[in-house]
Symmetry: C3
Subunit: 363 residues, 3 copies
């Protein structure tokens, strides 16, 4: 029986996703972001009381300081400081998403905040026709912040009609998903800390978007936040069978930021040039994608640059093969892991609880 | 980008439901209820360990002291006192109701109690035939109080067969909804604090019930609690197309309390006489109501007395037009807001945690 | 109105399941397990960081010490010690079970841990095809322990592929339900504390399993844990219409443990010999059982030995008549009640929080 116990223990505590080549790429050290580089709480306090609706509302400095604070939160045991003591969040998921909902709930609970969870919009009056404005009025009495996902793009605007507490948009229809973009860039900043410099010290990056149908809002927020890092980016390549998947607005903004932009359906030609490959949860879309060309799927035999990293907001089906999990290309596990901490940093800022941090943390 | 941030900030923190005429009617000050009027904790302690099943079980004094305590809880930051520390509530919603469930959960969490949430009775053994008596036996081990909503009127009685912890009825079939009645009267007491005097110092009130089909239990509990304020009430008018919507029992109790009672289907005739108009969530009932006469709907052009206030347990559809939201008639937002605090006062009393209040609160 | 209040109060606080014959059998005193018999925390600390997958992974000493700690937790107010402060559990119920889920959540909340609740697997990516390995990777970032129920027997193994925090199996397909077995044996140890002696001081027990179709996993884990108490058990009788409901593996293990084993469909012949009758939640299986022979149902007229006790993992339908609830045979309410405490003992051990206990508790 000892053997069995040993096996159980090993299963339980041994990380088994070390890359076989010994690289640290998939678990970049967060301390690179804040060592000798104190967090500027003044910049973060600009977010107090603010609703978070879209990626473009953040300044470069805000994103950088949020990521630096998230990196600290990833390193320390935060719960003894109870930063969100007495604060209540409603997670209102009118569009079900266990992954995003539990990511937020974990972030809040770790900070000793409390959660009122609406996991399934079908149990709400909204399903019967109640307006989001009325639901927002109700939430004023119940909570200190609302975290909402909704199938309708207009949902945040409707809720804000009566809402007097901050709203965090966790995905609205074909709109945006700004906290996913924070998680994406937090992973990239941990991977390449020099991105926080205002001018590039390393070669500029080629970003690629692979598989554009699907939850466009995550990709859209990722690209809009990429504009803040324009000095570090040479080109954005969208590999898609659509002619112009993002439309003229995004294209124009990239152009104004001096970032090259191209759309192509030739995966083989472009993959080897990419430094960052952003994949999408496209396989969940249904049969139309399932029959899609296998060129749009990645595995460990795909012609990827040796130093390239892959992001994916997850969940995934077979568009992203598990053979990549144990390679240095896998930044998506770090991205998923870090999402909790960057949301913690955001919540502490929005809820005005930055002062709960011990002084020694920002030195 | 600064403009956008300013706009986001304004959306997030500026209340935009100030009545255009500058009236304070829709947000009456709670301090009118307890200023120079300490809460009598002795009366509230009578509720310790008691199940709350129906509006009629409360004494006048208990309702008044619950509302006074609720008014204090609405004014202070309660969480640093952790009044329900270590207490667990089960919210057992065999009939789904996100609004009532989250109202209770917010009340408990704000007091630092903990919640086990059963949002959807379809996941329980009850759906497969398990008895409520057995479920009650189970809850004895899990929690300190059960808050139950159920489609069956007999449900509380069945659960009490084995339950040895207090039960709070959050709506049982066609029965009652006593904590909604507490929320209703808390709103009225804040609006007219002289209701806590045993004899009227202002003109007696005409109460009107508009649109009786639907969730009769909320209206029924409201009327049964109205009996406690009999000296302040001249008449109850039910505007309905039914001949006798409440039956002889309620009618007889009103008569014995010397309150005039009439049923009429003539909205135009009676509306201008009413001081308090209680509307009902009738539009959720389905097609039969949707085709109902538009006379039973209220909007800002309805012939309402200038000083009249409107109550509505919410959620609403078009029976109560949003054009009334920014008028002085809107007491329903205050009513919804206050529900959290009156439930807090009740829970602190039932769970025996009144002593956690600092002495300075009841002076 | 005083009468009504008195009635409400009595309903709320008076236990009404005292056995009519005055016996204490149905609520055995937990203190029999630890009086003059300190808990050996060293043995319990062997469980730190361990996944709990099957009944057979426990040693006799671990089960005994878990039950002794559970008995202490049942006697004391544990919450002021906050043993799980800062710890987060995910309750991931891909197969819905309100009873088991709320039992775990109550255990965690009473210890001041926090819960992320997935009550309904249909809201997860898993429903859309996401792998359990990916979900496990996600949970690493969100929580300190995962409590999972799943319809598939292979589910725990799949989740452990990427999981680096302990997993507690709360029922996997036709596999096991090890914490139910702990609850079963905790009830038996409170009923007969001499079971913790390595050699029997009382007559050996005849165990009977009644009604084998259904959730076999609970019965299977019960029997596998029974092997640890082999010196106290004479015989296991399975009363079933199946020829060999458990298959050769279980049979062989019982034989090697010197426990007699027989299968029979003659209820009347065997019932009077049994000291412990383990019933199963078979009536939930559907029509096939509902038409089953009424011999397989128990009520207060069944020919049961006067000293025999009945266990049932609940929920039940009519296979176990409520006429037995108020008899000394009813150990199933104690079993359900104790499940919370033995799960607390397990969680404190697995999460490494045994040191939070005051010294005076283990004397």
């Amino acid at each position: 029986m000892t053997d069995k116990k040993e096996r159980l223990k090993e299963n339980a505590i041994t990380p088994n996703i070390e890359p076989p080549d010994g690289s640290k790429a998939i678990r970049p050290e967060p301390s690179g972001l804040f060592a000798n580089n104190p967090v500027d709480l003044g910049i973060l306090s600009e977010l107090e009381g603010i609703s978070i609706l879209e990626a473009g509302q953040f300044s470069f400095e805000q994103v950088v300081e949020l990521c630096k604070l998230a990196a600290i939160l990833e390193k320390i045991e935060i719960w003894p400081y109870h930063p969100l003591d007495g604060k209540i969040a409603v997670t209102a998921f009118f569009e079900a998403s266990t992954r995003t909902r539990t990511s937020f709930e974990s972030a809040i609970l770790r900070l000793d905040g409390k959660v009122i969870s609406i996991a399934d919009g079908r149990t709400t009056g909204q399903a019967k026709g109640e307006s989001l404005a009325d639901i927002g009025e109700m939430f004023n009495a119940y909570a200190d912040v609302v975290i909402m996902r909704h199938t309708e793009t207009e949902a945040p605007e409707q809720m804000l009609e009566n809402l007097r507490i901050p709203l965090i948009n966790a995905g609205n229809g074909t709109g945006e998903h700004p906290t996913q973009a924070l998680a994406d860039w937090f992973a990239l900043l941990k991977w390449r800390p020099s991105l926080i410099d205002s001018e590039p010290v390393q070669a500029k990056l080629n970003l690629g978007i692979l598989g554009t149908p699907g939850s466009m809002r995550a990709v859209k927020s990722f690209l809009l936040m990429a504009l803040l890092f324009r000095s570090h980016i040479r080109k954005v390549t969208v590999i898609s069978e659509m002619a112009d998947p993002f439309g003229p607005d995004v294209t124009e903004q990239l152009r104004q930021a001096d970032i090259d932009y191209e759309v192509s359906n030739d995966v083989r030609e472009h993959l080897p040039d990419l430094d960052v490959i952003y994949m999408n949860s496209i396989a969940f879309l249904g049969d139309s994608y399932r029959s899609m060309d296998s060129r749009f799927k990645l595995n460990s035999d795909s012609p990827i640059k040796e130093s390239a990293v892959i992001l994916h907001p997850l969940a995934r089906l077979d568009e992203l093969d598990t053979s990549l999990d144990k390679t240095r290309h896998n930044l998506y596990f770090s991205q998923a892991h870090g999402a909790v901490f960057v949301r913690q940093a955001l919540l502490m800022s929005v809820l005005g609880r930055l002062h709960t941090l011990p002084d020694t943390f920002d030195t």
